[in-house]
Point group: C2
């Protein structure tokens, strides 16, 4: 199977849900209309289908390897990466000031999906570079920006995020790495960082590590963490590379999936101290790190969509090829391709509906991000920022959780062949398994959704989202088609369930934190089901309208059928999730610790 | 982490749910009371914890390997297998006539769970031998029984099931292997069989292949398939081994999981024909194969429970050890073990509730099997057989699907460490992924549930089960505890949803097969949720009673809490499943084939 970028579906979302015409009215995005989106996506599809996707299986079979502190990537990766930066793909969403292309996230997100569909392991390197770029853009001094940003935006150098230590995973308060000021504006950094994606590799000349560490006398906990740039090679005044810095890769992990992506253990300062440069102010590191984490969280959500898409394509191709058994309705006299069998259809439709729903949600979130950063009006910016921030844990948490379901179904569609590694379906199942963990586990996303995104504002943004959904229900009622009515029914039930949960979270948040957090992940799943379903509902209405105009009938009919499936089979999960959250909290924590 | 067999929970099920006292009243099982069960389970636990479990990780790291037609198993497997047969574990559930121990399935099932928890790959060899034993017991001639059964029952030789061919997986009508009668009562078998578990290995001197093939002039389709015994080595009159037969292992598969279990491609007859012996009558092979498949399906369901149990134990141990973050309720001043965090508790409780629910369901099914085979009264036998047959697709389909959820949660509890292979959680995730596929995919189980087990008798057995459940609801109402009331509410809602679906399946089965089969797997999942939940409800009542008597308070309280969790968080899924089945069938098949 060859990956084919779903350009048509992406453009449907970009045009009709994310409303690229409105994005193109934002200051700075005047050139970024539908035509631009289409041109960029088509070019991007060509590159990823042709150059990056063919390396995906190689990367799994022949992962990155470590020897004497050096990491050698899978043969072909270095050359593909060279083409990636030559094509300007790293620069897509970054500011023109640093030689970026300054495209809206609405367009860039689709490109990022393609890169990840083509090769999740490969795509992680650019993903981390984007995060480092964001952090420097937001908090870096002009001097730091001058030295590093153009190189990161072009992709000539890559970036990393160094948060985790053996004792500090989800809990960054436990970070122990330290940075000692040298009196000349630089610091010497000491410590061990683990799980550092592309922490060492051979695709570029220099790696820019962004590292959390404590300065002497810093407060305990998360308020005493500072952020530093620690380059692998020092950079001379003229921009050329100088001495090797004292940061070394002592090993890489043997992982379940994304094997081509080296996950490094980095040792800082074993030979006198790694030279680091403070980003922003001391003790505000976590705040800056959250900037890059939010960018990265959105991107990891897109990874979920990306791997789900590839798993779907592979399963659909197999189902249309593999002949086995007579259809139950007797429509074929003899054995038929397995796509004729209702349960295979159910699996494929589940994969497709979840993938399209999450893509639509991510696309809408990207447009909100663009408006939040570019709208002229401050109130519009603020409103979009709030909406975007509400969506980030859903894009990250829900899209990645759904990718586990989708990649598992992808194996199942293949039957016994799915369990054989050569088939390739199992790689998606393995690769996807990290997505609900890194850049904040689903529980961490859910804590964010419960705490910062729901309880803090008394549920205002959540209720505003529900209000928007109710409007869509009205439009569905006016359409009156069987599909629209089925969708309206499920959407309304899901929205009401959501409002119940929001009220519960707001009311009990302080009084009964255990009860509320016992339902945090179910709340995230419920909200993701609903918001992605809402976008499918909007898609259904738009597709009905375009179908009436005679536009691309096959595509529109498929979109309507997929939306209807989403309503019947995904949105129908929501009321039960509500019951578990609102009525089932006590039983989550009833068992005493010693009974486990 | 070391696997600890959950002997206490198993004995609870065996004593109170499966009612070993009643099993021990069946002719032939007079010795098989609770004391026997306890003694056997404790001995079995010791063996599996001490001998088999320590090889589990080795098997994954150093799988079976193939060279020149020979398969070498993981170092240590051969010796462990020797101890396994020396301990008499293979003989547990087989007839005394062939030197078996003739224990009820009610006891044997728990032992099989332990073996599988200890090492899924290792346990597959005995599992297949059990299947071959069943087939020969049912349909073999006395001559065949005399030659093979004692060796299989003791485990000195192992058995295989040869169904699948490249073009014939779920669809056995496509089997092309052929068997030519030689005029002397033997046949020469030709063909290629794939996915043959332990089709070749070095743990025993002889392998007894049970092979589906067609005789000349046989009808097309499944009614023209015959079953043959093809030994790896011919057996002389005196029982000694003779010439090598013409069946050869040409390769083994490179798989996602259960890597230590060799999955062979077997070539029959490349050098003149493999000598085979007909089992039973010509063209009735599928019927016999179903006997061994039904035994194997139940056992694969137990594999799901087994791997879920191990995944739970590992995750619980990690959660009680790993320190990270302050509890949201402030109950600990500073960082605490992650088992303090509500979402970790939710994950562990989900794992535990699903595992215990499925174990309870399997235990009750085993007791029904015993009564179906041993009860003096024909009506009792028949009733139990019908109940057992209804449960088999649930035990197989539901327990294995739930094992995917549980092993995935097991990875998630470990966070980033879960993705590192050395941790071990990922192995369960990979190993479990075959369970919903082999011995009939979940869809095949669901077809069985819909067709043979529900539609065929007009829903009678299903309704009888619902009637039993309603009685349990009455008992819950009489208990009146908060837990019992919560359970009663969810159980009643789930039962009603189940009855709706049963009515739908019965009514539409013939008129709208696509619609009914579109909901077949959701129906299986719904029924599994319900029936396992029903057993948790019974457990809750029993535990309440024993708690009042002061018996093992900690265990009983944990059982009650786990049952309550099951009600709130698993049974609450059921009404939505009903909606998807009964109201969502059309959207499963709405998308035209070319749109995928």
């Amino acid at each position: 199977m060859t990956y084919r970028a779903p350009v048509k579906d992406m453009l449907f979302d970009i045009e009709h849900l994310a409303r690229i015409d409105q994005v193109a009215q934002l200051p700075g995005f005047e050139e970024a209309g539908l035509d631009t989106a289409q041109a960029v996506l088509e070019e991007c599809a060509k590159f990823n289908e042709g150059v990056v996707a063919p390396l995906n299986v190689d990367g799994d079979k022949n992962p990155s390897s470590w020897k004497d502190g050096q990491v050698t990537t899978t043969p072909g990766f270095k050359e593909a990466y060279r083409q990636y930066i030559e094509g300007g793909w790293q620069a897509l969403q970054h500011p023109a000031e640093y030689d970026g292309q300054a495209l809206p996230k609405t367009i860039a997100a689709a490109c990022i999906e393609m890169l990840n569909s083509a090769n999740l392991s490969f795509a992680l390197c650019p993903l981390l570079t984007d995060g480092a770029t964001e952090a420097l853009l937001t908090a870096g001094s002009d001097a730091l920006k001058d030295v590093y940003l153009r190189k990161l935006v072009s992709g000539e150098w890559t970036g990393t995020m160094n948060l985790t230590e053996p004792q500090a995973g989800s809990d960054l308060a436990m970070v122990r790495s330290r940075a000692e000021p040298q009196g000349d504006g630089t610091y010497k950094v000491f410590g061990t960082k683990i799980f550092i994606t592309y922490g060492e590799h051979d695709m570029v000349d220099n790696i820019v590590h962004l590292v959390l560490a404590r300065v002497p006398g810093a407060p305990e906990g998360v308020k005493g963490i500072s952020l530093f740039v620690v380059p692998k090679f020092m950079v001379n005044q003229d921009g050329s590379l100088g001495a090797r810095n004292d940061v070394h890769c002592v090993s890489i992990e043997h992982k379940l999936g994304i094997k081509a992506s080296p996950t490094a253990v980095l040792q800082y300062g074993d030979n006198g101290g790694a030279i680091g440069y403070l980003v922003g102010q001391e003790n505000r590191g976590l705040e800056y790190m959250f900037i890059m984490m939010n960018a990265a969280r959105y991107a990891v959500g897109v990874q979920g969509i990306a791997v789900a898409e590839t798993a779907y394509q592979k399963a659909a191709a197999y189902a249309k090829d593999r002949v086995q058994s007579r259809p139950v309705d007797g429509s074929v006299n003899g054995s038929a391709t397995i796509v004729h069998h209702p349960d295979v259809r159910r699996m494929l439709m589940t994969m497709r509906a979840l993938t399209e729903g999450c893509r639509a949600m991510a696309s809408v979130a990207a447009a909100a991000y663009d408006a939040a950063h570019h709208a002229a009006d401050a109130a519009v910016r603020q409103q979009n920022q709030a909406f975007y921030e509400f969506l980030v844990p859903l894009v990250k948490g829900y899209s990645t959780e759904m990718s586990l379901e989708v990649t598992s179904l992808g194996v199942q569609v293949h039957g016994g062949m799915g369990f054989i590694e050569e088939t390739g379906a199992a790689q998606y199942y393995r690769d996807a398994r990290i997505l609900t963990i890194y850049e904040g586990t689903t529980a961490i996303q859910a804590n964010d959704l419960v705490g910062r995104k729901t309880a803090r504002d008394g549920g205002q943004v959540a209720q505003a989202v529900a209000g928007q959904i109710e409007k869509t229900e009205g439009e569905l009622a006016r359409s009156g088609s069987a599909e629209a009515r089925a969708m309206a029914k499920r959407l309304a039930a899901a929205r009401k369930a959501f409002l119940d949960v929001v009220a519960y979270v707001v009311k009990e948040g302080k009084a009964a934190p255990n009860a509320v957090f016992a339902g945090s992940v179910p709340y995230l799943m419920l909200a993701g089901n609903l918001v992605a379903g809402w976008q499918m509902a909007r898609s259904l209405l738009i597709a009905e309208g375009l179908l009436q105009k005679g536009q691309d009938a096959a595509f529109m009919r498929a979109k309507i059928a997929t939306a209807r499936f989403y309503a019947d089979h995904i949105l129908s999960r929501v009321p039960g999730q509500r019951d578990a959250i609102v009525e089932g909290a006590d039983s989550v924590t009833a068992l005493p610790l010693e009974a486990f």
